[in-house]
Assembly symmetry: C2
Homo-oligomer: 337 residues x 2
Amino acid sequence: MHAITLPTFGGPEALVWDEVPDPRPGPGEVLVDVAASAVNRADVLQRKGHYPPPPGASAYPGLECSGRIAELGEGVSGWSVGAEVCALLSGGGYAERVAVPSGQLLPIPIGIELVAAAALPEVTCTVWSNIVALAGLRVGETLLVHGGSSGIGTMAIQLGVALGARVCVTAGSAAKLAACRDLGADVTVDYRNEDFVERVKAATDGRGADVVLDNMGAAYLARNVDVLATGGRLVVIGMQGGSSAELDLGVLLRKRASVSATGLRGRPATGPGSKAEIVAAVRAQVWPLIEAGRVRPVIDQVLPMAEAARAHELLEGSGHIGKIVLAVRAGDRRGEG
Amino acid sequence: MHAITLPTFGGPEALVWDEVPDPRPGPGEVLVDVAASAVNRADVLQRKGHYPPPPGASAYPGLECSGRIAELGEGVSGWSVGAEVCALLSGGGYAERVAVPSGQLLPIPIGIELVAAAALPEVTCTVWSNIVALAGLRVGETLLVHGGSSGIGTMAIQLGVALGARVCVTAGSAAKLAACRDLGADVTVDYRNEDFVERVKAATDGRGADVVLDNMGAAYLARNVDVLATGGRLVVIGMQGGSSAELDLGVLLRKRASVSATGLRGRPATGPGSKAEIVAAVRAQVWPLIEAGRVRPVIDQVLPMAEAARAHELLEGSGHIGKIVLAVRAGDRRGEG
């Protein structure tokens, strides 16, 4: 098969479409003929050599895919060859074939094209596990989403709204803020020239945000704690602004607030806190919202997988809104739009 | 009535036993003839002028008491005059009488003396709300309790063991560590000459602690994050080592861990996250453990309430093990032992 390999670490040009051996499905795994994958920030870190795959994962980038089941490994039940699926991966999605633990498979939601479904696993699992399973977002609460126009951001807005929360976002251009409003964001903050703490407090009679979903890490830590309401929960899922910063526990204590940080990739395949547990919850709780048309994948564009380098350039340029998808076959670009 | 007043802020001598007007029970409140109160670190902060009572609270110190119901305010049901009770207070426990929202009352557990019961409300509510309601301590997990011989610490050890956790503690003398072991602590660390991170990791095959209950704040933040297991929860309830310190979100993210900080006193009387909610959970979940003899109040000594200054000196001297109780009547010192 072909896959995007990383003969050396470096810029986007380090991503090379090459012929490699086919993966084999181990016990409990399924082999998927990949239709599409999608790009995540973690792939960029991996490309630069800063984010090695966890033990046992594929060496190729790609944390999600859609496709058709080609073969069932030993002991797999509930899935059949030829079925269209999408999947949360520990790696290896930038390829024509990938082996996936069966607990990480999801059916294609009714009404979603096969290629577009490649944009769903990472954002739905990340957003659900953080704002619902971890932070326990409740009806009527205020959710602040940083990077509202990113893949994660566009899903967090929609899920927050579907769960009955009021959603505030930050983003860095008028077009991005407009896209966030279209998805249901109520308060949109241009971080280039507005202070999100001030704007969110003004919009909530001084209360602040009950849940903050953050991708900036250190750079926003103090302001994120400042913007939290009493009982607020800050969840850090990215550190684009560094990892270490001063935390004032006194402020946290007065607010009875919490700071958590999580990732998906390092989670075990099965057991408590596993990928399979999150995938099962997403299938039960998020898939019906997608099938009802209340939540949809937001796709900036679909590129041929062999052009993964261009996709990384686009992601790093930060001009996109939503997900950038990589389709294996040029004809398979129905997710575009 | 008499109460310990604070005519000026300062050292223990600032605590003056004086004649003051009786409190009146408002709607939903109960007037309690106090048998005893108990000393908390927050009382010391209040005495020094660093911890003003929340709006509406009594100006006198004292966050818990036991006694007999003297009068029911308007609209109170389920309690009767003459009943023996203990109560979680927002202040005013160092007095002969105190008015308490009825949701903060607890019956005296069967088998516990009236005076000794004054040592229960703060520690049971603090420990329960943090290690169970917030951190979700589970059977088989490892709980690290800093200040294991304190009032909070002695209750946290017992509750942790009763909930099926393995308990590790830090404390600062051989006598304190022995007391912690008697209460069920499995790993006891002398913080004066041992590294708790090293000891707890060695005792858990490198995994670390699933839940850490901390009273040191800034001074321990980095090491507390270091000692956390994957999925670990650090809960800060005191800042005896300062409030601001560097937090490495990258370490937190790799562990999928959280840092929370909470207090009891600032919580509302009723509603979500309220004192009444915590008191109801403690009555349902902790009182049966006390009545079964699996958890008991640990009392260092009982002093006359008029000698509150001496009680504060003892607390600040840190030689005590468990709670220091203040009894209104000299004969009412049955909790001693």
